[in-house]
Symmetry: C2
Subunit: 295 residues, 2 copies
């Protein structure tokens, strides 16, 4: 266990909610980067920022083709970093994609991407986690409400809320095919969940959130206070969101699949220590221990 | 089995798609009723008509209170017309609500409601089915794609597509809480589904569509051709839709429950005969045999 003060206790006997102890924006107004001052303010307030077109159509085609190549590569399929859906035997996610694929590594180093992360986190950044997600339609389940930070803190040992994620759409997100939902402003409250972390929890939690799931009462309070925003947008659009946003997604009964690349940047001044509420670290391809700044 | 010509074969060995053999609008331009000519045309084209406010806030309060009274009445709970969700033991639907509750009976007789049905179907109408639906949040599942007519024809013996449904919202339908989705224009093609009707299929099909479910291939073709429209709207809004619209709903992971009253009007010139593709009739509270015109 970590001896640093645990600002965000979780996975204890009872659910407990505490105000955020960290800023949302760690940079200063003159921290360089592509995000406008107005957008920074709305990110600070809501906890997210929707970018209608982060990458162009030709780049979407490039990354989508690379995604298809990876998920059809037997070597990638055999790699423990690939998450295969039992029934269909189809790949749902490939982790550490920035290490497996040079094309996705370039995307991580792209100033439109890493530049925004540095600007928000006010420092150099490294990749805490990256993955490509391939979510089919025809009833594929969504992902229930959770805060990523609650898991990254409890199971990966990230001390502070100085982490930001970006989900870049490689297919269109309609209002019908189970897109990302966020409760705007929920990032300003930390919800410590009840229930100890089971051993090897990560194996299950990649398919379905269980440990670290808010109670119905908490969800009702959050939703009544904050409402819920659904993110739609064309392929190439992106959603930046603070590590402590309460988010989830519904199932997708449409025939329209959803693919995206998901990158988590963490400040080099917030590197992972030992898990705050879990018996063991998660594997490095899920919670990085390589803190090399993105260059 | 019925000896009338079966215009819409289904539940055979293979899935088969045939063009609609019936008009969508059975009235003539001078058939009286509240729907404008332009709205009638859009209903003919899309197969549905969204009415932003069919009933007022005070009426919503009245009907919502009546819904709450019914689902908390032990006698209603014990009635076979109530569908109780096994795990939570909560009532999900109450059928034949227009017979159980005089308040809902008045709604059925309301000219804003039955007047629209007569106008669309070009004749007197009776209630083929009515129910109140109470769909909680927190992950309650939706209802997969299906055409109601496919079931009403196969299992209730409705000969022709001369039936219209209205879903009147008693709570707000957001873009996040698993609202009704329809493929606009899908009503102009009948999709006969593969697979015989199991005995007592209705007991299962009230919770989850199984017999009468389109294949992935068919859904992909329909969705590519027609797209998918999600219906949102405040409490008091309503969606009228043709009996052969391909429709479904996703799950609801939000805390916001969805309640509605669902009424199916059938033309008195299209009364039920014997099922076209099922061994036995469904119970009368699901597929009426009382053809008394609504007055």
């Amino acid at each position: 266990m970590t001896t640093i003060t645990d600002l965000y206790p979780s996975r204890g006997a009872a659910e407990v909610s505490v105000p955020r102890q960290d800023p949302v924006l760690w940079g200063t107004p003159d921290t360089p980067g592509p995000i406008t001052a107005a957008d920074l303010q709305s990110y600070e307030h809501d906890g997210f920022l929707a970018v209608p077109q982060l990458i162009g159509d030709d780049e979407v085609a490039l990354y989508h083709a690379e995604l298809e190549r990876l998920i059809h590569d037997p070597a990638v399929r055999a790699d423990e970093r690939s998450i295969v859906e039992p029934q269909s035997q189809e790949i749902r996610s490939v982790f550490e994609v920035h290490k497996i694929s040079e094309i996705f590594a370039q995307l991580v180093r792209d100033e439109r991407v890493v530049g925004r992360a540095r600007q928000i986190l006010g420092s150099d950044v490294y990749v805490h986690q990256s993955r490509i997600n391939v979510k089919p339609g025809f009833g594929a389940s969504g992902f229930y409400w959770h805060s990523d930070f609650e898991t990254w803190h409890a199971e990966d040992g990230l001390p502070n809320m100085r982490t930001v994620s970006v989900s870049i759409a490689l297919t269109e997100n309609y209002d019908t095919n189970g897109g990302l939902m966020i409760m705007p402003g929920s990032h300003k409250t930390f919800l410590g969940c009840a229930g100890a972390t089971p051993k090897d929890n990560y194996k299950k939690s990649l398919q379905m959130q269980d440990a670290g799931t808010p109670s119905d009462e908490a969800l009702t309070k959050f939703a009544d206070r904050h409402g819920i925003r659904l993110f739609t947008g064309r392929a190439g659009s992106a959603t930046w969101f603070d590590c402590n946003c309460l988010h989830g997604s519904g199932d997708n009964i449409t025939p329209f699949p959803r693919s995206n690349v998901f990158i988590v940047f963490n400040s080099v001044e917030n590197t992972a220590v030992e898990p705050f509420s879990a018996p063991v670290r998660r594997p490095e391809f899920i919670g990085a221990r390589d803190f090399t700044p993105v260059r």
